[in-house]
Symmetry: C2
Subunit: 203 residues, 2 copies
DNA sequence: CAAGTTCCCGACCGACCGGTCGATCAACGG
DNA sequence: CCGTTGATCGACCGGTCGGTCGGGAACTTG
């Protein structure tokens, strides 16, 4: 009864809802077991169907991985762009970018795990588009740091290396942050921003 | 002629030299293709032998992964212990720990990649010992931050979160740092330490 | 030279995996 | 009431992988 009335809108050739369920299950299983170790049967079983049924909705295993990557990077870019556009001072932009990144980990932990852990699990033509988007995101962060350095808001350290430090905080979160744990994403993001902007040492 | 005179010391049951070559090759291939995607034939071929020959020196594929992990974490703990023991001020300890970590990435890039990328690729009994060592390393960094907070050298931010920020810088390096690139490990470590201790913002 | 040890490898095995095929079944439209 | 469409799945296929086995080459030791 729960999954017997599909095709409510036969309008588009794009899938209606099953697709989302499939990607969700694939994300969880890829995240738990790793892309190569996970099997299509596993994903099918998690959806209450058998492998050939899953292949009715999906062409290749790699397509699932690609869909996960694309969905995530698009959303991350969109949110980050919005936040840094509505800020003025470089410090606020950096704080906002960290808040978006940590919030992303909190909301899409499995997806981020797949995104960062299975970064080079696949190749092919369309993969280049993802690399471009990933670079674009990094460039957004790099631009914040570079603007701060140029305007005199930030101290004179190598902006490229400082960017890597900020990206590290944003990207490493998926390995330890627990969305259901005692720490909130905003709390972590604020502390990270404080460390990155004011430093730990008392003067 | 290059590999025809083994067994120079039949003293120990421990392997003489081939073992090191095998682990080195496995490290490179696991790092490039991922543990699950890499095959034992690949590793054997890289060593100029066939798969059954490789299995003469190695019992299981998982043993290779375990050996890589163990070797690396032991060395990292040893070096970090030495550096933070010979320092006095928390700031110097933190700087030293970052220098060790980045130097590690520079010297054992493939190994660190396997170590951090294939963190949960295997299970089993002995795996617990590795988790304990990994936790011990993190605790060393945590203690530096906690000491700094307690002594008043560091500002009053949540030490647990600040520790994660430092660990992020140390651990994320393997994804981007190029040992043969224009940046030296010490250069990066110094800049990271500056960001973590003084912050980016001018006051 | 004979016994022993170490290493090597062609051939093989069982398991599993990504992916296909064809039959079946339910729902909908005319 | 029948044809079409979409979804499901048992059975199957080709390929690969981790791991084994048994025989042989090379070297050491006596």
């Amino acid at each position: 009864m729960s999954r017997t009335a599909p095709t409510p809108q036969p309008s588009e050739s794009a899938p209606p809802r099953v697709r989302a369920d499939i990607i969700e299950a694939a994300t969880r299983i890829f995240s738990e077991r790793g892309y190569h170790a996970a099997s299509m049967s596993e994903i099918a079983d998690a959806l209450g169907m058998r492998k050939p049924s899953l292949y009715h909705h999906v062409r290749k295993k790699e397509d699932l991985l690609f869909a996960i990557h694309e969905q995530l990077i698009d959303e991350l870019i969109e949110e980050t762009l919005a936040v840094i556009s509505s800020s003025e001072r470089p410090a606020d932009k950096l704080r906002g970018a960290l808040r978006v990144a940590l919030g992303f980990v909190a909301r899409h932990r499995d997806g981020v795990t797949v995104f960062l852990q299975e970064r080079s699990a696949v190749s092919g033509e369309r993969w280049n588009a993802l690399v471009v988007k990933r670079d674009f995101y990094e460039q957004m962060v790099a631009r914040i740091v570079a603007e701060g350095s140029a305007s005199g808001d930030f101290v004179a350290v190598d902006p490229a290396i400082a960017t890597k430090a900020v990206l590290a905080m944003a990207n490493w979160g998926y390995t330890w942050f627990q969305p259901d744990g005692p720490l909130s994403a905003d709390e972590v993001a604020e502390t990270f921003a404080t460390v990155a902007l004011r430093g730990l040492e008392v003067r």
